[in-house]
């Protein structure tokens, strides 16, 4: 599914107020103003819609994204989520009692904190009168959290909503087998010693074999890496191309990190450990080194390797979303408008990771824009092969005509506007938290580069949840979704 939020540059009266504010910031003023002028020269129109509230992102933060099994390994998911929430409070100074609602996305749930949003909010010191809920939609769970927030505000239910996501892959619930669980539950109900003994006598050693969280798609039983490898092959993408793209991601991330562009990262003092200040998965290597790796999924001749896939990551993120008039009233200078979004879904077997291709033209059409209008693209990088396949698919008339029912291709995004501060391959991909990172990267990039429109897209695997809640009406569509945001920047 794709969700697309748009952030708009407004040329309405309120804009002038903000421009004014900018001019009062001597440091950033000159370059930013020039950029703003350039944007205005392009005179792109606003994406504001009549009779709809404008919704803005004030700011967003994330904990550093770490490889699983490193500094965060002894934490629980709500600890990480709490860190993101505290960071957001600190960054935005939003009064806790103003927040109407809190929504978090997560994928692999810790059973003890199944509503992780609520546990984290309480721990972070938010008012216990602020309701919170948790959403799940595979890799776009936090996109879902944000679009839920947008809907709450657009419908007038709320004015101030915190949306975020968290994933702790260092610890996952490993269950007893169904047989063992059944026996234990029955034992609970057994009243006499005889009943208990007869239940215990049914015990077999294989009851003890544990049940791991499924890494495979429920409907097809195929792991995502496997699917990505097939996708790359279907689009005839070579190992070298994939390695080159992964290297690009790592190099760009490294550059952004070194230049301090990843300003959404907030330091996190891990209890009992040192303060973590930056992402630790960024490791630019050489093509020769990468070429040595063996395929990770389709052995021995596949093309997807550990080096060109996103890695298991721990991390949390949060953004503050407000109705525009409320933000202004509170004296905020919002970073971006959230404008439009689309969710799509496809066949979970052969098109599992092709969502961005389907969603991009849809959301552009909805917003009345073309590829050329977009200044910043942030696409979720699950696998190099997946990104390259999507780029190829978007650039293929044949694919557009035969699979998307379109007359012509939408065109692929120019790489110079695409994930230029790194992506999930290098920064990491905590499933539930990536969406907010994408949105903040887009907003920060637009602000820095003076662009007006940004577009966010992500692909996700899916369980039945999304299938039912979003596309229940269409029989043949399966749970495949991806998110996309168009963003108009303020500057």
């Amino acid at each position: 599914m794709t969700s697309l939020l748009t952030y708009t540059l407004k040329y309405l009266p309120s804009t002038s107020q903000w421009t004014l504010r900018f001019s009062m910031r001597p440091l950033s003023c000159s370059s930013q103003l020039r950029a703003a002028a350039a944007v205005q020269a392009k005179s792109k129109r606003t994406l504001a819609k009549p009779n709809l509230r404008n919704i803005v992102v004030v700011d967003g933060v994330r904990t550093p994204f770490l490889l699983s099994g490193t500094s965060y390994k002894d934490l629980m998911p709500h600890d990480l989520a709490r860190a993101a929430l505290s960071g957001l409070l600190h960054r935005t100074s939003v009064p806790k009692d103003v927040v109407d609602y809190i929504i978090f996305g997560t994928v692999i749930q810790e059973v003890k904190t199944s509503n992780v949003a609520r546990e984290a909010a309480l721990g972070a010191g938010f008012s216990d009168r602020t309701p919170a809920h948790t959403v799940t939609m595979a890799c776009i769970s936090s996109n879902q959290a944000m679009t839920t927030a947008v809907n709450l505000i657009a419908s007038g239910q709320c004015d101030v909503v915190v949306a975020g996501g968290v994933e702790l892959m260092s610890d996952v619930p490993i269950r007893h087998s169904r047989k063992m669980r059944k026996m234990m539950l029955d034992l609970n109900k057994a009243k006499t010693l005889g009943q208990r003994l007869s239940l215990i006598s049914k015990f077999r050693l294989n009851f003890l074999s544990p049940e791991l969280p499924a890494v495979a798609e429920f409907s097809t039983n195929e792991t995502m890496g496997h699917s990505a490898d097939r996708l790359a092959a279907a689009f005839a993408i070579s190992r070298l191309e994939q390695d080159e793209y992964a290297l690009r991601s790592h190099s760009l991330a490294k550059k952004a990190q070194d230049e301090g562009l990843l300003s959404d990262v907030v330091p996190f003092k891990v209890p009992g450990k040192d303060t973590v200040t930056q992402d630790n998965g960024i490791r630019p290597s050489s093509l020769e080194q990468m070429a040595k790796l063996k395929p990770a999924f389709i052995k021995p001749y596949g093309t997807v390797t550990a080096a060109n896939s996103s890695f298991l990551t721990d991390g949390a993120s949060a953004v503050l979303i407000l109705a525009e008039e409320k933000a202004l009233a509170m004296g905020y200078k919002p970073k971006a408008y959230l404008r439009d979004f689309v969710y799509v879904s496809q066949d979970p077997k052969d098109q599992l990771l092709l969502g961005p291709t389907y969603a991009t033209p849809k959301v552009l059409e909805k917003a009345g824009l073309t590829m050329n209008d977009i200044d910043a693209f942030e696409f979720h990088e699950a696998f190099s092969g997946q990104i390259l396949a999507n780029l190829k698919a978007m650039d293929s008339d044949w694919f557009a005509q035969n699979y998307m029912g379109r007359k012509a291709k939408v065109g692929s995004p120019p790489l110079e506007k695409f994930n230029i501060w790194g992506g999930s391959l290098s920064l990491g991909h905590p499933f539930g938290a990536t969406g907010c990172r994408l949105v903040m990267a887009t907003a920060n990039r637009l602000q820095k580069e003076g662009g007006q429109y940004g577009l966010v897209a992500a692909c996700a695997a899916g369980g039945q949840v999304c299938h039912r809640s979003f596309i229940g009406a269409s029989r043949k569509s399966f749970s495949w979704k991806q998110n996309k945001f168009i963003q108009e920047c303020l500057i």
């Binding site: 097939r230 689009f235 001749y301 066949d347 190829k392 293929s396």
Partner: protein, 763 residues
């Protein structure tokens, strides 16, 4: 069912006449012919790998025929002689088919065993060259790889297969009454071990790619691809080729070993097989089992065991010689002619002769959730047909829904479906008690109780709610369709669709057209049947149509034989040893005594004396005592859940004793009893053709074998007349006619065939 087993596969036979190759001498002349366009086989060179592509024109499948073989030899000689080429990939350009086997016509054209043996020897020589090739050859398999196709593949140094549902490897020759004649009997045991090789060659079963990998039949798997820069099927073949090329290079560079690591079990098995005593025991066991199952009616399986044994015990040369000789002998047997005929017939009956219907059936409704109704639903939902299952009561409906679910779930247990696919299919089924949604139905199949007034009632009810284009099909085994259609407002839309129980196992569908049934209605019914995976015969309306009408006189004879004092067990063994998959007495129990009585009564009224024989009273008394057959737990036998060996129902004895008939010694030998049953069947079948109920002998044979279990080894009643001789059958009928009268009077068409020996049903 043995019947379906025997012909259930897409095989073509393997072997082919090759031009004697002049060998390397000719290479100077053919050197540049890489650029030549050949008809079936072409090759290109990528780097140092030759990619040999097989693509027979104007055909959905590749088969090994004379032309293919000579082109293959040419190409291989060029590959072997070229200095530029170090390895080769063998691949088919057809989606869904590598090589489906050898050209059957080539075999049937032979008139002597020697000719067939020669074909086999030429193929053996060629494949041996492939096996001994110093330049590694990789077989890249996508789609069916059967018979000769498999023999070619296992001659190559390496095999890579797509993990697609269509990729099936197998040696189905035995189902055509022959054996793998191009070295398969010798190579397969070495490749997968003797027990697995026996299993493949004796059952003819197709093996899916993932299992083939586990068995060591293929070395690598390639996942089929989804949409990308090209249509999925096309790109998958391309990808398979790319992967195969890397392996071919690796093999040529000795970076990849063609030898496979064997697992512990495999090592143990191969060690055990090296002990002569163990081998002897295995041969003995397998032979015993084959004898028991085939009852000596099928010569091919025993010959296969023999040939494999010769190869292992006396060396390859003896093995190859024995293979080619036995192959020649088998190809000339009546059994192989019968089985090949059935195979051809089956192919014919899987086509829609009536063209595409104007409107495709997407929404199906079935009335009655009994065994038949639910069975029809089961074979429909997993083909993507939206299906309404309607019954009058919740209990009956629930039973039917459970039957559909169980059928799908059994497939999950066998790993033929995933649980997710099962759920998706099951959601195509709507169970209901009313006529809601019938306004959208494209076809209604009624499977309510066999009672004319009830069928009239539902027909009228249904016609009040269905749209104009909707077809009304009646699943009846004996009620004439025109009588059912009599109350219809639109008789051109009424047709008979006679399914056989159990619907998911029995391949046959008998479609019955009345004089008023429109061609489009027939096309629609055939289309649905084909979608449901059925083999279809289309017959004219009449009492008992074709299948029931043939069965009825035989059943009448069964009762008479029982009344004459032959016990059910003895009768069963006589019929099964003749080749019927189910014994005659057991068959009555399976069909249901009440159904048998119903049919006998109805048809008896219409056809009179010809259908007489046993006394209806036997069936009536059984019904009175509640012995309805398997469904009531008691019939001629007693049926208990979980009890494998069924016991005789001793209460039947008193019924049979009270209705005893004197037996006539000169027509009551074991053989006479068998022929009394079969000749009545055959005579009625030929009469159906004579009267125009049947359109062709092929449909008659297919209907008898796949619907009624007529011995597949005989190929069906018409093939039987051709092979056994019409005169002999008429003689037998005359003999029994003398004893019993008109029931055995041969029909005119049969007499005609007897009087002119050149007349054959199959020319």
């Amino acid at each position: 069912m043995v019947a379906s087993r025997a012909v259930g596969s897409l095989s073509r036979f393997t072997a082919s006449r090759m031009l004697r190759c002049p060998g390397y001498i000719c290479r100077n002349f053919t050197r540049s012919s890489a650029l030549l366009t050949r008809t079936h086989i072409n090759y290109g060179v990528k780097g140092d790998v030759a990619v040999i592509r097989i693509n027979s024109p104007n055909s959905k499948v590749n088969t090994l025929g004379q032309e293919v073989h000579s082109e293959f030899i040419e190409v291989m000689n060029e590959v072997w002689s070229s200095n530029q080429i170090r390895s080769a990939v063998l691949i088919s350009s057809k989606p869904g088919c590598f090589i489906a086997g050898a050209d059957l016509n080539m075999l049937t054209a032979c008139t002597t065993p020697q000719e067939v043996t020669q074909i086999s020897q030429e193929a053996q020589r060629m494949f041996e060259k492939v096996e001994k090739s110093t330049k590694p050859i990789v077989a890249a398999i996508n789609g069916s790889c059967l018979g000769g196709g498999l023999e070619l593949a296992i001659s190559c140094q390496y095999r890579i297969a797509t993990k697609d549902k269509k990729t099936v490897l197998g040696s189905p020759e035995v189902l055509l009454g022959i054996l793998p004649g191009a070295g398969g009997t010798q190579r397969l045991p070495k490749m997968v071990g003797v027990p697995a090789a026996f299993d493949m060659m004796l059952t003819g079963r197709g093996i899916r790619a993932d299992r083939a990998k586990k068995m060591g039949l293929v070395d690598q798997l390639v996942e089929p691809l989804g949409p990308g820069i090209k249509p999925p099927e096309e790109r998958t073949i391309e990808y398979l080729e790319e992967v195969a090329i890397t392996f071919a290079k690796g093999l040529a560079d000795k970076k990849i070993s063609p030898k496979r690591d064997k697992g512990l079990v495999e090592k143990l098995t191969s060690y055990a097989m090296s002990i002569p005593f163990v081998r002897q025991q295995i041969y003995k066991k397998v032979e015993e089992r084959v004898r028991k199952q085939t009852k000596g009616l099928y010569p091919a399986p025993l010959k296969i065991i023999d040939v494999v044994k010769t190869g292992i015990e006396q060396g390859s040369d003896a093995g190859y010689l024995s293979e080619s000789q036995k192959f020649g002998e088998l190809a000339m047997t009546k059994e192989s002619k019968a089985l090949m005929g059935l195979y051809r017939g089956q192919t014919l009956c899987k086509k829609n002769k009536f063209g595409a219907p104007q409107k495709e059936v997407k929404q199906l409704a079935i009335l009655g959730a009994g065994l038949m109704g639910a069975g029809i639903a089961q074979v429909s939902v997993d083909k993507g047909l939206q299906t309404i299952l309607k019954d009058a009561t919740l209990a009956a409906l629930g039973r039917g829904q459970q039957q559909v679910f169980r059928g799908l779930n059994d497939k999950v247990k066998k790993k033929a479906l995933t649980s997710f696919e099962r759920d998706a299919f099951f959601s195509n089924l709507t169970g209901q008690l009313d006529y809601q949604g019938f306004e959208k139905a494209d076809m209604v199949i009624e499977a309510v109780f066999e009672d004319l007034s009830l069928k009239h009632k539902v027909l009228k009810e249904v016609e009040a709610v269905i749209p104009d284009h909707c077809v009304f099909a009646s699943n009846t085994s004996a009620l004439p369709i025109n009588e059912i259609a009599a109350v219809s407002k639109r008789p051109e839309k009424v047709i008979g669709m006679h399914y056989f129980s159990p619907v998911d196992k029995m391949q046959l569908l008998e479609i019955i057209t009345t004089q008023k049934t429109s061609k489009d209605t027939t096309a629609s019914a055939v289309e649905v049947g084909l979608k449901q995976g059925k083999v279809i015969i289309v017959v004219k309306d009449g009492p008992g149509f074709y299948t029931t009408r043939c069965l009825a006189p035989m059943m009448s004879e069964v009762i008479r034989i029982l009344q004459e004092g032959v016990g059910p067990k003895k009768l069963d063994s006589l019929t099964t040893s003749f080749g019927f998959p189910v014994g005659a007495a057991t068959l009555v129990d399976e069909v249901g005594v009440d159904v048998a009585k119903h049919v006998a009564e109805n048809l008896g009224k219409v056809f009179g004396e010809r259908f007489a024989g046993g006394s209806l009273e036997v069936l009536k008394q059984m019904i009175a005592k509640g012995f309805l057959g398997r469904k009531s737990g008691k019939g001629f036998y007693i049926y208990q859940e979980g009890v494998k060996n069924k016991n005789l129902n001793s209460d039947i004895d008193s019924i049979l004793a009270s209705l005893k008939m004197p037996s006539q010694p000169d027509v009551s030998s074991d053989e006479d009893i068998q022929y009394r049953l079969v000749t009545r069947f055959v005579n009625e079948a030929v009469l159906c053709l004579q009267e125009g109920v049947l359109a062709s002998p092929t449909e008659g044979d297919i209907g008898a074998v796949f619907g009624l279990g007529f011995p597949p080894s005989l190929g069906g009643p018409f093939r039987f007349v051709d092979l056994y001789g019409a005169q002999k059958i008429v003689d037998r009928l005359r003999k029994y006619e003398a004893a019993y009268g008109k029931q055995f009077t041969p029909c005119q068409l049969l007499v005609d065939h007897a009087s002119s020996p050149n007349k054959k049903f199959y020319q």
